[in-house]
Symmetry: C2
Subunit: 304 residues, 2 copies
């Protein structure tokens, strides 16, 4: 087998491509220009190909160099991932961990589980980011976050998920609403009732519509958060579906709204943890999800 290049050499040619000059690239990787020069030369010898065109105004990659560059980048990130995965495997859920959470979960879940999480994983530094599902998926793919709490089902390429807990939907309406007289509801009761929902982009909107297969949304109004949503319901703009987790967290306390569960089988959404396929921290993501499930089960809600 022909000799392999060094990761160092790959790092060097990446820097060279990025800075377009031996001297500046050398500076960027903290070596002198002759060192980098020699390293690139040896890399070319190993590969048997000229990778760089040296000119008086800097260096430009040859087509072969571009091909190598692309693969070198891959090798480097894989190697970095290996380090992260190893550290994570050795001491799971320690160090910085960037977790994305969708806006219809974050404000209700986090206060409830963060203290216990910190207790269970004292070495973790959780960085939280609240955003819509699609943007969290982008962040996962671009490695800006390590994992995300989202609502399933949701299917996206390059993303894997692990179910954590089922979040039941509850019907909420003003007291004088026709359906508020019933103790429990069936999804079919909503066929004639245009629902007031969150604005487009919130997965809760889609999941709520899916829950009452025949239902529809009010097209004239939409809320930007669950808090504004309940206020809009209160002012008589319509009825809605709320996740139990938000209700348990006190979302409708002292609002004077009527809240009704659905007949079994209850409708709702599944909350799960998601990570980029192949992520170095997928095991930790699963562990974190399981820990949250545990915490939710042992410490029931402090709601009304």
């Amino acid at each position: 087998m022909s000799q392999l290049p060094t990761l160092r050499q790959l790092q060097f040619i990446i820097a060279l491509a990025e800075h377009g000059s031996f001297s500046r690239a050398a500076e960027a990787v903290f070596v002198t220009q002759p060192t980098l020069s020699a390293a690139i030369k040896e890399l070319e010898a190993i590969l048997g190909t000229v990778l760089v065109e040296r000119g008086a105004r800097g260096a430009v990659l040859t087509p072969a160099g571009e091909a190598v560059l692309e693969r070198a980048r891959r090798v480097m990130t894989e190697a970095e991932d290996l380090v992260i995965a190893a550290q994570a495997a050795g001491e799971p859920l320690s160090g910085p961990f960037k977790l994305g959470v969708i806006p219809t979960i974050a404000p209700f879940l986090l206060p409830r589980v963060l203290p216990a999480l910190r207790e269970r994983f004292p070495d973790i530094e959780l960085f939280l980011r609240e955003d819509l599902t699609d943007r969290l998926f982008d962040a996962l793919r671009e490695r800006r976050i390590d994992a995300a709490l989202i609502a399933l089902p949701y299917d996206a390429p390059m993303i894997e998920t692990h179910a954590v807990w089922a979040d039941e939907f509850l019907f909420a309406a003003p007291p004088d609403h026709a359906l508020a007289r019933k103790k429990t509801l069936a999804p079919s009761d909503l066929s004639e009732e245009p629902l007031l929902l969150l604005e487009d982009g919130h997965c809760l909107r889609d999941h709520a519509l899916a829950a009452c297969a025949t239902g529809s949304a009010r097209s004239d109004f939409a809320a930007t958060s669950l808090h504004t949503l309940v206020h809009m319901v209160k002012s008589g703009l319509g009825a809605t579906l709320l996740p139990r987790m938000a209700v348990d967290a006190g979302l409708v306390d002292r609002m004077g709204l009527e809240v009704r569960p659905f007949d079994p089988p209850v409708v709702g959404r599944e909350i799960g943890v998601a990570w980029r396929k192949g992520s170095a921290r997928s095991d930790e993501a699963i562990q974190l999800g399981d820990a949250i499930r545990d915490i939710l089960q042992t410490a029931p809600s402090g709601g009304s």
Copy 2:
């Protein structure tokens, strides 16, 4: 950023995992046991994790070690691919090149194009492998071959393709066959005619059936090669569709069979070159396909 391991170290831990013992692994990578021992120790220091359980009867990877192993393998093959891609980019279509070809193309195409290919790419060493499409795809995915000539459309995960030329289907039957009286045929003429085809697994069978949307295959007989197929047609067992390339190559010469083209738009299959997605030699595969197309166009068939 924390320090990266060396490719050498990754190679070492892969060998260690494969041999289960420092001494034997060291032998396998041509270093002494203390060298490998020290290297693994340093790798563990870099990753901050114990990767190997040292026992009196050898070494076993810890769970963290297993996680590292898997990624180390990936990094190593990516690095090897980089070398291959660089060499290929520097001097395309030179050195050993393993090409798979399906059985309904190989015997008719290769004699026609191999001499010209050798002339055009004098430094290439073509290793040919004749097999069914599915097995060629497996071989591509497992890196046992670099590219394959197959019939499209065919869709398989991890495989990319590039069209090379269109191979028209011709109708072939014994002289006394009812349809042999027509000068040209429409695909619909075959609705009532159960065709004699190759046995299952040959893509030509599926593509021929697809060509005459309403047609069907004889279920009692099937041929194992185009040569036996024409003999079976000759003995009156039925009619069939043959690729023009095979006819041009003399498949039915002196067989006394009637061969008819279809009305435009002609039916047929597309021949293309396929490679594993991300393969180091995809550019060469495309170049090879284009070269074959060229050769076929400039040097028309020597058939009847």
